[in-house]
Point group: C2
Amino acid sequence: MVISAGVKGHASEERLVITPTMEDVAARAGVSRALVSLVMRGSPKVSTRRREAVLHAAEELGYAPHAAARSLASRNSRILGVLVSDLHNPFFAEIIDGIDATAHAEGFELVINTGGRSPARERAAVTNLLSFRPAGVLLLGPAVPASVISDAAARLPVVLVARGSRLASVDTVQDHGKVGSALAVDRLVELGHGRIAHFDGGRAAQSAARRTGYRTAMRGHGLEPDVIPSEYTEVAGEKAAAELLARGDHLPTAVLAANDVNAIGAISTFGRAGLRVPEDISVVGYDNTSLAAFRHIGLTTVDQPRAEMGRLATEALLQRVRGERTTPVRHLLRPSLVERTTTGTAS
Amino acid sequence: MVISAGVKGHASEERLVITPTMEDVAARAGVSRALVSLVMRGSPKVSTRRREAVLHAAEELGYAPHAAARSLASRNSRILGVLVSDLHNPFFAEIIDGIDATAHAEGFELVINTGGRSPARERAAVTNLLSFRPAGVLLLGPAVPASVISDAAARLPVVLVARGSRLASVDTVQDHGKVGSALAVDRLVELGHGRIAHFDGGRAAQSAARRTGYRTAMRGHGLEPDVIPSEYTEVAGEKAAAELLARGDHLPTAVLAANDVNAIGAISTFGRAGLRVPEDISVVGYDNTSLAAFRHIGLTTVDQPRAEMGRLATEALLQRVRGERTTPVRHLLRPSLVERTTTGTAS
DNA sequence: ATACAGGATTGGAGCGCTCTAACTGGTAGA
DNA sequence: TCTACCAGTTAGAGCGCTCCAATCCTGTAT
């Protein structure tokens, strides 16, 4: 049986501490640990004299609060978990950019995990994320079954980006693909185009919405839709363009591509075939990736406000975290058309 | 004075616990908390019967260990801190991709922080990162003063990516800019080029190495270096190309641009001036961003293996974390030339 | 001088976990 | 029968912090 314990000691010894604790700062400033805690949390009920003494001591020791200890003791965390289905995809990178800015402005840190496009790995990633007991999580384009999402949502606030949900406990942020396509079609019609083809994105995310929007808009103008199955890649864009060219005469005068990369593929095929863009054929992309902005390319495209999506998702999450809202929010972002040099009046 | 404390109680009550703790699992499995801890850490010294009982109880309760409590108690963490000077830049996004893969394979999680190109914000970000008491930190292209780096390195393993250091306590991972430039020059000379200009990257990172490599290689071939000050942007590339054109006759037959984006700017200016690439002038980029690979662009460029850099950086960091090495490592990655369609024989 | 208010400060318990040392109940050797 | 041993298990302290309640001031009113 230990008789005399209690001599904490290490704080009073003036040896160099590798990673100082609150106790060390308190000893150096000649105050209690609790007071240091108050100062570190910016409490107003500390006298100026003590506050300065504490800050000075902390500075000298190079002290920074231990986040894990802090969140353990306070039973809440300043961490937001982020699951990205694919970090490689710049689309998500730019959304994270928006999340990052908003979260940091509100004093939250990000713990980022990737799913690598595999539902099994994503599931593990979610469990991992939850082990940090974050204040909430943001799932970017997750491929996990809905049950994983509802389980998580039962424990903490969850926001889905680029994926829908019917759960009342989760918020969602997506772009309005139908509107985006319609925007492009409307403008092309305005420019005098009547034969407008659409290269679609196959079974990939958002593809159906864009296709439907295209069809509806065409019919609204009394025009016949002309969908050519394609994919979200450059090669698929080249292939779809080649199919179009193989028709011979009566070519469309404009193409709404599946996305930017697909549009660029189409443009190179048209170019090799001797067609000038936009004089002979107009091309519109989708996403407004940084790619589209290069003068060398100058792609007219539908802008999907990715950073904005990140911001909205984070704000929605923080509202739940703070308990300001319990009803679900469904953000459907309004896309906009960015006109550059690949569109012109119909020939 | 409290006489009878000790009745923790909450574990034995069978009510639904929102976020179960080890205590809850122990109560349900009919064992001690310590045993649950052993099971969760995969200790071999637990009987099969108990192990299964514990895992079963954990499964039923949906229990996952609390990472913060775990790292607080064990005094070490499974977190790696990552500071990105600019998440917006795809160059870093791809490096993070490599870091992410390696770290997760080794069971580490990433806490990512951005500096937003401002040394002051980066400094704050480093402090923030350290508050998580990560096992180590990776600084990607940091702009902070060297003192911040050495302070951090005094506390934990630090690896610098895309920045050099003389500190024995930090490892560095960079690409060998001199070699990359030389590679491009050598190949151009092989193609018969004699007048090769270089648009440089000004004061930005890696710029000096690339410039020096260019100069040395040129002199090695008995050729006169011709450096035109520029920057890592498309606009700067356009401007440098215009300067070149303004010289009138005796134009170079090839240009080694500062980077890919700079090269694309140069190509558009050349194109507008009626020069064909590569028939009239060859252009080589640097970085091999995804941009360069587009067939529409087909840029010949020097490849910098970004994912590989992320992997090497993470491995170096983990070696230090595990105490396997204390001597510094300086990775100088060997770049390679990727030939596409913007280079040809000298006219 | 005495009481009191209210701001400033502090002790101590406890967050969920790990880790050491100690304990348990067999089993085997003397 | 006694001791030794060992795999399996557990109690208890403590990681660095927050938060509550209790205590200590200091100035002002009485």
